[in-house]
């Protein structure tokens, strides 16, 4: 048996190198896309986890505020808890390097006396001996701006110990002094590289606020369960803080990213799905080609079960080859995409950037399971089919395709039935299930390929060929249903995905543009270099605001404070903005409210007059809130209940947003220091000129001025970046599908050797044969395209109307980006054409002399 298997594999290699290559490439791309996405997904979580472990790795519990800062007086209360062994305060913030790069570093202000052991070392001096390490502590407290950075960060910026580094937090500038190196990566490989450690008081004094502490880390004495201790501490410390275990913090991040991760995973699974067809097609092809071999083996006494095992073993070997190539490929792809994904994490989800990707055993196992499992799944149907066939059937030609022709109609009926059932189930029962959209999508994606044989038959059957034209090509597809179906199905699924996503992205982008028109109304926007991520702790100072408001070309200044809070029940994260609205002639507040529910005039009135909030649509959907309800937020002194005046469309965060007046905000959340400001210019003032002048005036300060147009462009750039990784997945899927087309055609070249020889004998030139093949390739592409466009439209509808609303909570107005779609169709046809070139050339090589008695 082993020898037969070995012989079979050798035969595969000998006979069909290209075929084999395409199969392995298909599997490896499928594996690759899964590995890439899982690696990135894990990277995103590990980046957060790494940062948590680097800073709080020795802590059993962490106390965080409902607002970014917590009352320092809680520290003694934490220490008094009987379960607490050690506890220390941390002052954490993000500072921007004021070297023009705008790079952010995470400042960790910790108590140098705390029993927390950071791997702090001093660089060796020139003689190779370390300076007296004892000075570090004194220096950390005594040298203004003293900090320790990771060796990686120091190396990447060319810093040496003793160097001074200017940084900014909000509109404040400070000078850090590189005092030592802290090699977090040595004991926490996933620790972010951009950490700078300094004494807590220095961080407070130089960069944050004098009373700001953001976190208390706790080590328990070990004789009590952390959960019990956390619950008691939570009770004693009150509702202004949250006491979390590291696992809870990781879960928080995971929950934040759930929708993002799920979508990427679903997309990568489509690649696997497409790859599966490839395996199916190639196994099928190799089996068809070797049917006589199996016939002979059966005559010689091989059992059907042995045939099955033999075929599956071969598929397994192909799968493993695909895994061996796919895992490194996927990891490489993840590396290529890490920057865009990382940017998405930081700009949209306000999480750590991914500083390092690691190929974890889990991902390797997933990749192997997908590749091997996919190969076996793809092989099992044809293998079963082959093993069940009788010897006579195996030894006689042409019966193979008749089977496919006979099952085409039942398969199509089955597909229609399944899709209908899926749709009915979705309508009847899908409402309560978050995953219903995905399940329906999956049913559709399963149904679509099942439709393919029927569709090909339907397309080819009624037409009578009148020459070597496209009709004959189409006919040829219907004749070779098995091979053509796989290729067309793979293509149709791919195109569905591509078109679905293109429609989604196009619609989303258009919706966003429309929304920006309503909401981005000021002429110039002012923020700070450290704002982008730091958000809540990067402030604009009062003098600056006064100066801006005093400019003759400025009509009004609006300021905004943004804070991430959670609802009092802890179930929803909310980006809460407090805005000091200004009365700007011609730009009424009502006209700037992109309301989803509520009357703009009434909402604007309530907002300005009372303690009301407007909440974003995602929050309204996820929390089931609407006008008339109260938004109950966890405030620094307990729950803050704000009546909801209206619901606005909002695309800034899937986590949920809400805004109110800065005054109301300040009353409940202690601080009304703004993070950014918007300037309404006098009529006739040129925003670009004003921005240029502001930049000149404030040169050297960590301020960022953007005109309306620039801000809009940057928002759209972030949007595009967010979907960049889906482009990669789309490309990979298209590549797999193109492999499928090429594969199908190569199979046809082999299977139809006799027919081609006959054509040649009857006087068809090589070029004619090649053209016929190209025509068939295009016919397949055309069918795939037709099915894919239909499927894509369905998928887009599902994504826009169901999955996005359920998972992100966004209303997206469907829009057909014709240009993008046309480009995509052209790319698909181009890919199909490219995929057909080699098989077409190969087909032209057939000689009439090859006409033997067995063929046809």
């Amino acid at each position: 048996m082993i020898r037969v298997l070995g012989h079979g594999l050798l035969g595969l290699v000998r006979e069909g190198r290209t075929l084999l290559l395409l199969t392995v490439v298909g599997v490896s791309l499928g594996v690759g896309s899964v590995v890439a996405i899982q690696t990135l997904n894990q990277g995103a979580l590990q980046a957060f986890g790494g940062s948590v472990r680097a800073v709080s790795g020795q802590a059993d519990l962490t106390v965080l505020g409902t607002v970014p800062t917590i009352d320092p007086a809680l520290l003694p209360r934490v220490l008094a808890d009987p379960a607490v062994r050690d506890a220390w305060p941390l002052c954490r913030l993000d500072a921007a390097l004021a070297d023009g790069s705008g790079d952010l570093i995470q400042i960790v202000g910790f108590d140098v006396f705390a029993p927390v052991r950071y791997p702090l070392t001093r660089q060796l001096d020139e003689t190779g001996s370390a300076a007296d390490p004892g000075d570090l502590v004194a220096a950390a407290m005594a040298v203004p701006g003293w900090c320790a950075v990771t060796p990686h960060l120091a190396a990447s910026h060319g810093w040496a110990v003793g160097d001074t580094v200017p940084v900014s937090s909000g509109s404040r500038l400070a000078r850090l002094v590189i005092g030592a190196l802290v090699d977090f990566q040595r004991y926490e490989p996933l620790a972010p590289v951009n950490i700078a450690v300094m004494d807590v008081a220095q961080a407070q004094a130089l960069l944050a606020r004098p009373d700001a502490i953001h976190q208390i880390d706790i080590v328990l004495a070990g004789d009590e369960d952390p959960g019990t201790a956390a619950a008691r501490l939570q009770r004693n410390l009150g509702p202004g803080v949250r006491v979390l275990t590291p696992e809870q913090r990781a879960e928080d991040a995971a929950g934040l990213l759930a929708a993002f991760r799920l979508n990427l995973t679903a997309l990568s699974l489509i690649s696997v799905f497409v790859g599966l067809f490839l395996v199916l097609a190639s196994v099928q092809a190799s089996l068809v080609r070797r049917r006589r071999e199996f016939g002979v083996l059966r005559v010689l006494g091989m059992q059907p079960r042995q045939v099955l095992v033999l075929i599956l073993a071969e598929a397994g070997v192909l799968g493993l080859l695909g895994v061996a190539i796919g895992i490194p490929t996927g990891f490489r792809i993840a590396l290529w995409n890490v920057e865009t994904v990382s940017a998405t994490l930081t700009s949209i989800y306000v999480l750590e950037e991914i500083s390092r990707l690691v190929l974890t055993p889990t991902v390797i196992i997933i990749g192997t399971a997908v590749g091997l499992g996919g190969a076996l799944c793809g092989a099992v149907l044809p293998a079963l089919d082959m093993s069940r066939r009788g010897v006579v059937e195996l030894l006689s030609p042409l019966t193979m395709h008749e089977g496919a022709r006979r099952t085409a109609v039942p398969l199509a009926l089955l597909a229609v039935a399944a899709m209908t059932a899926g749709l009915l189930w979705f309508v009847a029962a899908g409402g309560g299930n978050r995953y219903a959209g995905f399940i329906l999508g999956f049913v559709m994606l399963i149904g679509l390929p099942l439709l393919v044989p029927g569709v090909i038959r339907a397309a080819g059957a009624p037409l009578r060929p009148r020459g070597l034209g496209w009709v004959l090509s189409l006919r040829n597809l219907t004749i070779r249903l098995r091979t053509s179906s796989f290729a067309v199905a793979a293509l149709a699924v791919t195109i569905s995905m591509m078109v679905g996503i293109t429609l989604l992205v196009g619609s989303f982008r258009q919706t966003l543009v429309t929304w920006l028109d309503v909401t981005i109304r000021a002429d110039v926007y002012v923020s700070t270099e450290s704002w982008i991520r730091a958000g809540n702790e990067a402030f604009l100072d009062a003098e600056l605001l006064t100066a801006l408001g005093g400019r003759p070309d400025v009509q009004a200044v609006e300021t905004q404070r943004r804070l991430r809070v959670s609802t009092a029940d802890g179930r929803h994260r909310v980006w809460l903005s407090g805005i000091a609205f200004s009365a700007v002639p011609g730009v009424t507040l009502a006209s700037r409210l992109p309301l989803y529910a509520g009357d703009p005039e009434a909402v604007a009135g309530r907002l300005l007059a009372s303690e009301a909030v407007v909440i974003g649509e995602p929050l309204a959907r996820k929390a089931g809130l609407g006008p008339g309800d109260d938004l109950v937020l966890a405030g620094p002194d307990g729950p803050v209940s704000l009546p909801i005046a209206g619901v606005a469309f909002d695309y800034t965060s899937e986590a949920g947003t809400a805004f109110t007046t800065l005054e109301t905000f300040g009353r409940h959340f202690r601080s009304d220091q703004p993070n950014n400001a918007a300037l309404f210019l006098q009529p006739g003032a040129d925003p670009d000129a004003v921005v240029a002048e502001l930049q000149r005036t404030h040169r050297g300060r960590p301020l960022v001025f953007r005109s309306n147009a620039t801000l809009r462009r940057e928002v759209l750039a972030i949007f595009d970046q967010t979907f960049a990784v889906t482009r990669t997945l789309q490309t990979m899927a298209l590549f797999i599908a193109a492999c499928g087309l090429a594969l199908a055609q190569l199979i046809q070249v082999r299977e139809r050797a006799g027919e081609l020889a006959l054509f040649r004998a009857l006087g068809a030139t090589r070029a004619q044969i090649s053209r016929m093949f190209l025509g068939e390739g295009l016919a397949m592409a055309g069918l795939g395209l037709a099915l894919g466009l239909g499927g894509g439209a369905g998928l887009a509808a599902l994504l826009i109307l169901v999955i996005n609303r359920e998972w992100f909570g966004w209303t997206i107005r469907p829009d057909v980006p014709l240009g993008a779609l046309a480009l995509e169709v052209a790319v698909i046809l181009g890919a199909a054409l490219a995929a057909g070139i080699y098989p077409a050339w190969k087909s032209g090589l057939s000689s009439p002399a090859q006409l033997s008695r067995d063929d046809l």
């Binding site: 006396f113 029993p115 004194a138 004098p210 004495a221």
Partner: protein, 380 residues
Amino acid sequence: MARWTWLILIAALALPCGAGSDPGWRRAAPGYRWEWPRDHYAHPEFKTEWWYFTGHLEPEDDAGIPGDTLGFQLTFFRLGMVPPGTGTPEAGLAARGGIMAHAAISDATAGDHLFSEVLWRATPLLGGFGAPGDTVIAWCRGPGGTADLWSLGFDGQTFALRASDERRGLAFDLRCRPVKPVVLHGDQGFSAKNAAGTAGSLYAALTRLEVSGSVMRNGAMIRVRGECWMDQEIFTSTLAPDQKGWDWVSLQLADGRELMVYRLFGPEGGEGFGSGTLVAPDGSTTPLADGDFRLEPRDRWRSPVTGAEYPVSWILEVPSAGLDLELRAVMPDQENVSRLSGVHYWEGAVTVRSRGPAGASVGRGYVEMAGYGEGNRPPV
């Protein structure tokens, strides 16, 4: 991984023996003008300072068990980090240094040696030092899990010592009233720490204080009475590289005299440097030079926790004072193992007998041995 906090102690707590300079800090030098009670309070212009209380307590409602005494230790350390007039602007957690405290109870009857410690940044939230005239000299939070504060209070007459650690079952609340005047060691309170006299500390002591108050024993506070010794030492310079540790002995003799001797030793136990003070019943002092006394270790005990081997009995001879004494630990295990600093030392109550056939008890004392064991440089 660096033992971060251990480094603090190396930097801050080393004995004032090195000759290195520490800019920004005042250095201990002969001719310091002492003024009491002002000098009981902290001296922020010097880098390091400590208040060291060691003593012997008897339960008041003693069931009559002979020799049922409790040894106690309470030390507050001031660890200066930021010299006066420098540093960053004020912040909520701004601190000029740290405050550390060690507390121990040696219960020879029960065979228990309890040790507790704290180490905080000296910031109003966690701990600090009083100014002359305040009712506290030093105070800080208790260790994690303990609600009460630790403090060294002073009302102009009496010192009030409070320390507790709920998790370890250690607590005491003691009032200590000096019964003899302040003793200035060395040259008018400048105690040289090497033969050249280039490094040293300001060193004063109250060699006999009456103690009353309560101590936790088996989970309950009991009334106690007894005597203690208070050392106050102030310095800036650091430990010299050829000095590894020291032995320090304080004795309160039944005849009304007190004796303090110490010897610094190097890594190979070589020559070292010793000094001492003999205090007469009337409070007058006689300085002792290195050659005026002999301290010889006898029995030894190996710590099962740290592996360090400490002497637990000694011969101490001061011929000029007519003293030929045998010191013996009330129990072998009086080792303080400090988690927060990563160092360990032996600080324990000893009995004092005259040598010879009679071997009568002639007093009691406290011995400190630092720098024992591998890779262990002493905190104090």
